[in-house]
Symmetry: C2
């Protein structure tokens, strides 16, 4: 009984691009813990954050009360060039699985940046421009955020310096070229352009870098360069705020065909996509309107939710950032080298960490061979080649659908397909050739990095 | 006076996926010339083509009369997973150019294959499956067709062997992996798996191959393998028929906002995208309903329209295919090694060749540095990184828009954006680093290959 009156793709009209972001914190009973100044142990005041972040973004970061925040016109104009993003009904995948479940996915890879990261990139670039900055810095690991921010900055004619994890810089030359095509300057990290980078190079001259280290460098560069600030593509409250457009559109699109998810599944690295996707559904949970399950899927090789501690920790390796209360594996943690794709951050969004801690969402971890198995199956069925990151959500959704097959339940599953895998073909090659391995950190290893 | 009531993207509802392909030949006064049997010099009969092509596709190939052909339900089901493709209004590009022209582009890169090729791939795979074939063969140059056909074949669980031009095979490992992810077998061409390949390897052991040579190999493999047939992604009448969905949707989308193009611009290699895009507009010209200009843009390094001869020629290098009457540079012609991207076929669709010969369309050629300049400008303005092939159409459209800027005319320009450039970053790197060159064949060189 596949309800064939529901189209394969539900694309809302342009008039339904959300006009406001939804700030999940306004409805949380327990708010996410504030940043702490590592020197004083006191909550950071806005003025202390202004040297690092754009002022308006600091206000958004610290606003636990305003439920809906107007999206400025120039950001809306840009959103309208690629949004609303489609909600797909995965008829082909359902058929391939033989499941009675109804599977929907919100696809955010339909723009050149190839991922959902553009939703926050354009907002952050806009506020930086509004503040009259000379430029901004950031870091990128797998490269999706760097690409998106480069696109956003070129739109506002704003200089951008991207510290790119050296391993990615070397292994993903094409990702690098895309970022450069959009006019950004790339520095492989660790580099000799910062104290943080030089310090790490001295200790580990052959390191291929890490996200935490690239963050240290980008932050240092921003605070030591006149007229520059630092921006970040995940983890922060402001990022989840901007990404709420994903969930708002997904919910509206489902409502347009009289559907509502029993379970919402998203991949989790720093939490940007997951926090955005679940926002309006979590609102329903928090306000008692509905009670969908919410499932985070993270890599077994970087299991911050499932094996981390809920504690204050640094956001970077060099320990120059404020401390955030989050599920963390320790700021020195780096996934093993065989880990492909993104989702390699040691910590997790403070908002999602609090929700998880409060029992409002679940989390599971998946081994990457299982994730790529799901990616290959999905790409053949649905004709979209997913990013390895996104494939974690696919794995989670497929497993839910297979449980439905066993139980005979026709659950409605929604998952977030955050982006495309065009720049991750070397990981696919590993998978196809059978050389991909699963190396899960031991308890002992994790203890060594504990916050 | 940018009519802001026209959205950035016009996406027709799923119910408006065309139910029929439009066969341009039905309205042509002078039909494209038939294939000739090179042995007898007589027009090929259907039965002579059956050993090479699927029977239903032969019927479509030879049908000069039926204007509209029903699209089978299974193909429609697949189309509905990614179609209607969006028609974009290029507000940002118009602004960047400061032109009074209204620029629209039909974007066909919104599926994992990354290009319009999927429109014909799914049709050809369907008919091959219907005929009960054991498998099919094809060739691919830049890789878009191979990717699309691999996706289509995996959907119908149909084995596929792709002869991939050796130069691309080596230079585009990720393109290769995508094709393999979709389950196809790839053979770098020339290879020792065919007489044609062995013959070429004997004469030129170090050759990086050519499209014409890969066609020879794929055809030979098909006719010498039990239960196999050969399929082709461009040039043929059947391919233009399938690709008519591009133009039909583009026209309907423009009509939905009360627009009609003054000029339609498309890139031209073998003619698949151009023929599909212009189909319903050319119908208007042929039936006297309207008279839009139609402009083909081809690479200066492979200028079949602008510097070729309109004559019977072989479709492949080893001269084992039927002869087609078309604009051709000679079946031995290979663009110089510095030519990036696709659009490297020596010939041109017989349909488009006839239309051009009859003065119903124009053609221009562009140097690749100019093409990449347009690609870079477009990607920054519109946020879509175009394939080098597609960028020829962008160049043509920009030049039309700049003429409008001079004349003050607010013309309506429609161009075809056939695909994304994610797998062409090495060409972008060349362009960005200033090492890209324009090497245009001399008259003497062209004479050496003449048909």
């Amino acid at each position: 009984m596949s309800a064939k009156n529901i189209p394969n793709r539900i694309i809302l009209p342009e008039s339904q691009v959300p006009q406001q972001w939804y700030n999940l914190r306004a409805d949380m009973r327990t708010k996410p813990a504030p940043f702490l100044n590592p020197g004083t142990g006191e909550p950071m005041r806005a003025e202390e954050l202004y040297p690092v972040f754009c002022e308006e973004l600091v206000r958004q970061e610290m606003d636990d009360d305003t439920a809906f925040i107007d999206i400025p016109g120039e950001i809306l104009d840009y959103y309208r060039t690629y949004r609303p993003a489609p909600l797909h009904r995965a008829y082909q995948l359902e058929k391939a699985l033989g499941t009675p479940a109804k599977i929907y996915y919100k696809f955010e890879g339909n723009n050149t940046s190839g991922s959902h990261k553009l939703n926050s990139a354009i907002a952050q670039a806009y506020y930086a421009k509004q503040q009259g900055l000379r430029g901004i810095t950031t870091e990128t690991g797998a490269g999706q955020w760097g690409t998106a921010l480069a696109m956003a900055c070129t739109h506002f004619d704003l200089p951008l310096i991207v510290y790119m994890v050296k391993g990615s810089f070397t292994q993903k030359p094409y990702r690098r070229s895309v970022i450069q095509t959009f006019g950004a300057r790339i520095v492989p990290s660790p580099s000799d352009t910062t104290d943080a980078g030089r310090g790490i190079l001295e200790k580990m001259p052959d390191t291929s870098g890490s996200l935490g280290c690239a963050i240290s460098e980008a932050v240092e560069k921003a605070v030591t360069t006149e007229g520059y600030r630092y921006v970040l593509g995940s983890v922060l409250n402001q990022v989840l705020l901007h990404q709420s457009v994903i969930g708002l559109e997904a919910k509206a699109a489902m409502e347009s065909v009289d559907e509502y998810p029993d379970v919402v599944v998203g991949c989790a690295g720093g939490g940007s996509n997951l926090g955005g996707l679940i926002a309006p559904f979590m609102q329903d949970k928090l306000t008692g309107k509905a009670n969908p399950r919410v499932v985070a899927v993270e890599p077994a090789s970087c299991p911050s939710f499932t094996r981390g501690r809920f504690a204050y920790d640094f956001c970077d390796t060099a320990k120059i950032t404020p401390m955030a209360k989050m599920y963390t594996l320790g700021s020195g943690f780096i996934p093993r080298a065989n880990h492909a794709g993104g989702l390699r951050y040691h910590g997790m969004s403070p908002i999602l960490s609090q929700l998880y801690h409060d029992g409002l969402m679940e989390a599971i971890s998946c081994e990457q061979t299982k994730v790529f198995e799901a990616a290959a199956l999905f790409s053949k069925a649905e004709g979209i080649l997913p990013a390895p990151e996104s494939a974690h959500a696919i794995r989670g959704a497929i497993d839910e659908a297979l449980l439905c097959k066993e139980s005979g339940e026709a659950k409605t599953i929604l998952f977030g397909l955050t982006g495309t895998g065009y720049f991750d073909m070397s990981a696919y090659e590993q998978y196809l050739s059978g050389t991909m391995t699963d190396e899960i950190p031991t308890d002992e290893e994790l203890r060594a990095f504990e916050a």
